[in-house]
Amino acid sequence: MALSREEICDKVQETLMDALGVDEDEVTGDATLMGDLGAESIDFLDIVFRLEKAFGIKIPREELFPAENLLNNEQYVHDGKLTETGLAKLKAQMPHVDFTEFEKDPDLNKMPDLFRVSSICKYIESKVNAG
């Protein structure tokens, strides 16, 4: 049964409230997980667990949040920035993320800004309604 974008986002919002102990009004579509909602690395796994349970799906670790092997690879990272190859790889790995801003200056320090509530909604939507 297909879920609407709204139903999915409501459930994502609830999941994030439980996982991060934040209030409903903080979990806006534009909120970044780390900057705005205070998520730390262990929280990402917690979020994955909870989303899997809430939607009855399996989430491969590299899909929703990027794999560390990408960041530890010289081919993909140079001088604290993603190389062109690295950026292409990341984009391919995370089609649910909006890269418009990040692309202009792919500084690793700005990577946390990529993870927004809306990108989780998009990701789940693609998973749940893929059949």
């Binding site: 439980d18 996982a19 102990g21 690395s41 262990i42 929280d43 796994l45 917690d46 667990f49 899997e52 349970k53 560390e68 530890n72």
Partner: protein
């Protein structure tokens, strides 16, 4: 150096056991699923003299510790204590009543999720039928986490004989 690694190394060098045991025994243990432990609370425990003078109640943090030991052993046993299982996150801690000297609390931990890197556990604490607390915990298998940081080879989490004795006495009681 990471604090955790440092304290583990110090502990080994000085032959210290930095952990202490905070549950009395297991009364149920279903591998990979659930465990129930008992803790008897006694006025002989020194912290109760200060928490609080004239009104001794078990600190909420120590109720969480008891649940963390129950859940941590449950998670560790699933992989035969080969993983270094450490408490990574308290996602929920809601308390409904206080625990006093003379009480016996029953800690039930249920595994919600387990993956290569971590596991989550839901816990409830009861005194008889009364619900005392609901606690959600997340454990990290630290060798598979923390961005390739290196930890001591030996398993400093489960090298505590008392932990193993808890399991042994549970099994002995079952079979006798």
């Amino acid at each position: 150096m990471n604090v955790l690694v440092w304290s583990a190394r110090q502990g080994k060098e000085n032959n210290l056991r930095v952990r202490w045991i905070w549950i009395d025994k297991f009364v149920e243990f279903v591998s990979g699923q659930r465990a129930v432990a008992i803790k008897n609370v006694s006025l002989a425990e020194e912290h109760l003299h200060d928490h609080f003078p004239g009104y001794p109640i078990m600190p909420a943090s120590l109720l969480i510790e008891a649940m963390a030991q129950t859940g941590g052993i449950l998670v560790g046993e699933m992989r035969n204590f080969s993983e270094k299982v450490i408490l990574a996150k308290i996602s929920k801690a809601v308390f409904h009543a206080v625990v006093r000297p003379g009480d016996q609390v029953r800690l039930e931990a249920v595994v919600d999720n387990i993956a290569e890197e971590a596991a989550t556990v839901s816990g409830t604490i009861r005194r008889d039928q009364e619900l005392i607390a609901e606690i959600g915990l997340m454990f990290s298998h630290i060798d598979k986490n923390l961005g390739g940081m290196e930890f001591p080879e030996e398993n400093f989490v489960f090298d505590n004989d008392q932990f193993m004795d808890l399991m042994r006495s549970y099994r002995l009681e079952r079979t006798s």
